[in-house]
Amino acid sequence: MQEIFANLGLGFQTAVTWTNMMWVVIGGTLGTIIGMLPGLGPATGVAILIPITFGMNPATALITMCAVYYGAMFGGSRASIMINTPGDASAIVSCFDGYPMTKQGRAGTALAISAIASFIGGMIGMFFLVFLTQPIANAALKFGPAEMFSLMMFALVATITLSEGNLLKGAVAIAFGLMLSTVGIDALTGIIRFTYGAEALQDGIDFLVIIIGVYAVCEVFKNYKDIGAVHKFDSKHIGRVWVSKEEWKRSLPPMLRAGPLGFIVGVLPGMGGTIATFMSYAMEKNLSKKPEEFGKGAIEGLAAPESANNACSCGAMVPLLTLGIPGSGTTAVMLGALMLLGVRPGPTLFTDHPEIAWGVIASMLIGNIVLVIINLPLAIPLVQILKVPTRIMLPVIMGLALIGTYFLNYSSFDFVVVMISAVIGYLFSKLEIPLPPLVLALILGGTTEQALRNSLVLSDGSLGIFVQKPISAVFIVLAAASLVYSLAKRKKQAA
């Protein structure tokens, strides 16, 4: 316990500098703005803002990206509440009761409770994050290649089994991601693989380029159908951005219940904010004495998912920081950006660079407070951004995405990759092939293959090593269990 507080103190020493605090505010505000724009989620926000982190030291870069991520979580529901259009998938649930509240002339209350619930959920998530990261990182330090391979297999399997959608399509997405990860020079033998004669591919495919393609450029493509969208609302009818004592009483228990739920969901790979918000909404509706009010402006129906969503974003940081495994699209983008800065998140981050690991955690605590301050008094001015027409926002996002691509490697070839991956991402979305498993497999592919090969060197070629080592066996069992659970759930749904 003392070690945790000492580390947190170190984290605050890193985080509380004028530069870092400035970036927490800038990142949080930019994240809030991007998060609230319809169709653009935190992954897009972090992807297009990567270039601003270049030239920063790794701690400041990670602090800025976390602020963007967190800001997007705060902002995501603004569009749901004001114009019944979710900023991203995890804000869909906020439409259910948020928009009816606006129609009833309670937009101010809805905006306030969404910010307060985001804050409380974030604080609950941070509590667990602070106390869980160090023990997990300590345990992960003992992982050998067999444990790492099994862990990554579990992460990949869980990404498709715990999310909604077709399992086989998820498997195809993982296979495609792994295929892309093998392009270029093999790290162990130096053999050039799958470049088909293209010299530009010898260094492999930069997964950040693919990520910008599928999360930023592709999102612009998807929004082409809504180019004419102009969102209008009367700011005079928003009302006071605050909650009454009665509303506070009704909202607090749902927020406190949804926080831990959201955190647990966030830790699991593949689940993410969308599932956390839907689960918390369903839980509150089941627990409510007046379930019939849900969908008609019940404040609990907004408070719970908002709390779950922010706690979930804290949960998603656990596997990223402690194991170096991103559990969501946004954390995948953050991992990529950090690797570009020469930092590899994982257990060694806590031993080699505790100031970065704990600085980020401390900055998230500060960011949570900064963002609730931004999102309460500035709620009305901030939502005015929703009035900026889509046809103006899309070119700006496209421009930022391509400039970001250039900064990654200063390579013209990356523009070919980013545009083609955006088109393929768009086609895949039409075929309902999930992109997060593909991106995760692309990121983890190289390490997974290396871990597998190193394990087999240690075991003299025997696959038994993966079940003989207890931790590895646990991950294999968890992967199998999630597959069985998923198959059973889908069979039940089909029946």
Binding site: P51, K169, V172, M179, T189, P395, I403, T405, V423
Partner: protein, 158 residues
């Protein structure tokens, strides 16, 4: 054709090509039990198996997935925009090193804004110019990041 069947065909074709390429890789084990080809082989074969399972699963009566509709005809204007954006985006990247940052970025933005924000010539011109100047200011001047320098940038004092 249904979505699952088409996905299955793509998975079989891509996985098959990848597997065939993997088979041509040298063994080169030298203490490394798997070598550089076994992992790709497993992945390629996995893709083929998942693809075949999708195709076969889609043939079960009453279990067919939805019909594929890319909207090439119905939304041909969107596809045209995507195609043009893709081509212009690639060209933008190719000319940037030669022409510098400001001119290609302004032209790219002018093209995209004209494509998306039709008929508002002045607004598009202002937005394009403002975007390239502001991003240059932020990245090249404020953040001191290296941006391609053409003849316009070489005349600037920063």
């Amino acid at each position: 054709m249904t979505k699952d069947t088409l996905t299955g065909i793509i998975a079989v074709l891509v996985g098959g090509t990848y597997t065939a390429t993997a088979l041509m890789l040298p063994e080169m084990r030298m203490g490394d039990k798997l070598g550089p080809k076994i992992f790709p082989l497993v992945v390629g074969i996995g893709s083929v198996i998942a693809g075949l399972a999708l195709i076969l699963g889609d043939r079960r009566p009453g279990k067919q997935s939805k019909k594929t509709d890319f909207g090439f005809v119905e939304h041909k204007d969107i596809w045209l925009k995507i195609l043009l954006t893709t081509v212009v985006g690639i060209v933008y990247g190719l000319v940037m090193d030669k022409l510098g940052f400001l001119i290609p970025t302004t032209l790219f933005m002018l093209f995209i804004t004209t494509l998306i924000n039709k008929g508002r010539i002045l607004q598009n011109a202002i937005l394009s110019l403002a975007f390239s100047v502001i991003t240059y200011g932020v990245f090249a001047v404020a953040l001191q990041l290296s941006l391609p320098r053409g003849f316009l940038e070489s005349m600037l004092p920063f």
